[in-house]
Amino acid sequence: MSKFEALAGNEAVATAMRQINPDVVAAYPITPQTSTVQTFANYVADGLVDTEFVTVESEHSAMSACVGASAAGARVMTATSANGLALMWEIVYIAASTRCPIVMGLVNRALSGPINIHCDHSDVMGMRDSGWIILFSENGQEAYDNLIQAVRIAEHPDVLLPVAVCQDGFITSHGMERVEIYEDADVRAFVGEYRPQWSLLDLEHPKTYGPLDFYDYYYEHKRQQVEAMQHAHRVIQEVAEAFNRTFDRDYGLFEPYRLEDAEVAVVVANSTAGTAKVVVDRLREEGLKVGLLKPRVFRPFPAEELAEALAHLKAVAVMDRSISFGAMGNAGPLFLELAAALALRGVRMPMADYVYGLGGRDILPREIESVYRDMLRVAETGQVERMVTYLSVR
């Protein structure tokens, strides 16, 4: 039997880690991720897991230890935020290109500077070309569920890529919510045993990880990463189907909310999607045909499915919790990629980007409502007045 517990997002993730019982965890504390590894370290100290917990002197070392342990054939996890992820950078790319199925709990926080510890998505958006699979989570439940699924996605023989599971710093990571925790045995059965194909500890078959790779083969290894990402698109859906069957959930590439008959929609990831659902319900009571699309899988970007899900709308707003400085219109990365996805598939509609919540700035229901009201006007006129709006900036 599963049970419901009052847990902060980080505790939910730490609970998933306890149930998964990874061979190795290497992590360095950074706000707001800290309570993930702190809670997990307690589990290690209490003997509730068999994990080798590697305390390191920096995130660069944490990710390095993860790569080494993964190459050795271990099931490996870590967690970080913002500047910690930035310090991992070099090894983040190496983890993906060396095809290490590491799972990372990524608690989204604004990158410095100026220094800030609160939520935005500048950290994860920086890793979007690194070769990691990236999943978003609206709340603690989704962070927990996504982490469990991430293990199976990462370790799938057709994938073998690292996965980052995002949740919003403080809002989700430290907000206590009702989280359904499944039986330990059920979670362990779901993730199964990791059987690495190329373990460095397999002394009968000596091998080399990470050798020099010049112009003669580097390109071919990049092409293999593309192939793995293409497989990930399918595997993520297969794992979600299995998860949904086992634990009675409804995961897919994204979550449509009252979208089917909507005329106007907002696309927004992570915790703000929860707030936006309240706004959708309120506006629906007024008879306004509004809906929501909450991306779950950001890498690989499900362009075709997104275009199909949004094609019937009269106007779409994207809400971005980061800025791609100097990109078209100084817009956010989610908007830019979605706009390209729709345009290239011939789905033409007025689109606008609303940057919000940088550095943990609150995003209120009335602000999200203003986005919907803007887009309802746009749907009527067919004209977007401003491509990019920096919501509630002074």
């Binding site: 060396t98 190329w198 091998k207 990880y209 003669d216 290894h221 293999q224």
Partner: protein, 117 residues
């Protein structure tokens, strides 16, 4: 150079699954300077064999003799000439011009393009 394979036919992630396959990579193609062996001067101390980073010093273990170079893999780094005590007696550093002029050198480095048998 072996025929280049496509991305479907190689291990993922740049992994090398066969131990010791560095011999299949002919690093001799990188060479700008070639070592030349002056057999008469050699005292067979094996310093070059010990220091060669590419295991390219060929020896005859039965007779305990240094016999030459594996030019398929020698990158021409010159460490052999640098550590050779016979050379050291003549000059401190195996300067190429001096080396070419001095027949007493055991190992001298000759520009690859100028080398003639």
């Amino acid at each position: 150079m072996a025929e280049l394979k496509g991305w479907r036919d190689i291990p993922i992630g740049g992994m090398i699954l066969e131990a010791g396959n560095a011999t299949e990579y002919p690093t001799g193609t990188w060479r700008a300077f070639r070592p030349v062996f002056g057999e008469a001067e050699c005292i067979h101390c094996f310093q070059c064999w010990l220091f060669c980073p590419d295991s390219s010093i060929l020896v005859d273990p039965e007779n305990e003799k240094m016999v030459g170079f594996d030019l398929e893999h020698c990158k021409g780094c010159g460490i052999c000439a640098s550590v050779c005590p016979v050379n050291a007696k003549v000059i401190k550093k195996a300067d190429e011009e001096l080396a070419q002029d001095d027949p007493r050198l055991c190992i001298r480095m000759v520009e690859e393009g100028k080398f003639q048998e």
